[in-house]
């Protein structure tokens, strides 16, 4: 009973906030509605028993990806009126993407009706480690059976990191950096000299 109520609460909020994401005039509001949508999606994940995925959704999407989005929309000087002018021009493209997404949804629902996904066992009779929490079950599969996929995920992350640095890093030459080891190594006799200047004469440095 409570589960059903919670499902409809989260589902309604996901859809409503998704609608607000595309309806908001201000891009910052869009991102904030997106965060609400992520959050409620995490609630739905908990309801189907995928607690690890739910927490990851919050940690990675809300805690990291959405922060980047916020940085971008808050600090970039984008003329949003101009962007919106392209709406009509890009309308066919948007329709095409929407159709692809609908097709994916239909496929997904069809696959789900064909029977639950039973990863880990070829004959699908039973999945290993179901008596343990699903975070351990995911680990047991990911780092043994699917380790190739896991390693390629690592390569993709590496490419993403290098790409980000190449695209956004600009060397600045007009700043002076702190070299801490040099500062620590400095001794008083290198930095100061004792002189006894004669009266009426300056000091030669």
């Amino acid at each position: 009973m409570i589960q059903v109520l919670a499902f409809y609460l989260f589902a309604t909020l996901v859809i409503a906030s998704a609608v607000f994401v595309i309806m908001s005039r201000n891009p910052v509001h869009s991102v904030l509605w997106l965060i609400v949508a992520f959050f409620n999606a995490a609630g739905l994940m908990v309801l189907v028993g995928a607690e690890f995925i739910a927490m990851l959704l919050v940690i990675v999407y809300v805690g990291a990806v959405a922060v980047l989005f916020l940085f971008v929309v808050m600090m970039l000087d984008i003329d949003f009126a101009e962007l919106r002018a392209g709406f009509i021009r890009n309308f066919p493209l948007g329709i095409a993407i929407a159709l692809v997404l609908v097709a994916e949804l239909v496929l997904g629902i069809g696959a789900e009706r064909a029977g639950a996904l039973k990863l880990g066992t070829p004959d699908g009779t039973a999945a290993p480690l179901m008596d343990r929490s699903n975070i351990e079950a995911i680990g047991a599969l990911l780092y043994s059976r699917y380790l190739f996929l896991f390693e390629s995920a690592g390569i993709i992350l590496l490419v993403a990191m290098i790409g980000a640095i190449v695209l956004t890093h600009r060397e600045r030459s007009d700043t002076r950096r702190q070299n801490i080891s040099k500062q620590v190594k400095r001794r008083p006799d290198e930095a100061t000299i004792n002189v006894k200047p004669e009266v009426g004469k300056g000091v030669q440095l």
């Binding site: 351990e136 680990g139 780092y143 690592g154 990191m161």
Partner: protein
Amino acid sequence: MVDLSQYLPILIFLAIAQGLSAAFVFLPIGVAYLTGAHKPDAEKLSEYECGFPAFEDPRSQFDVRFYLVAILFIIFDLEAAFLFPWAVSLDVTGWPGWITMMIFLAELVIGFAYAWKKGALEWE
């Protein structure tokens, strides 16, 4: 398996915490109307800029370095996300699982070394 009855208190707690903090924000507004403390004027409501009128729009362009920090954070956060299930399943994956993760970490250490060398981790 997942015990959903353990998650229901969190949902109730969320509702109560939100209600409590909303009351803290909105009650004083109402009280200020009643006590007569609510006396806004144009100067009071202008944004703070050390006594000057605001020079320009505060939401200006920012240093690109903030994006770089955010992107690097996403990548390392994902790395940590992969470490979570690994940490609790080492008893079943054993040495192969451990070596798998070491290779994964080595891939990211290459990226980290590159970022270090390029000076992407410096904040000037």
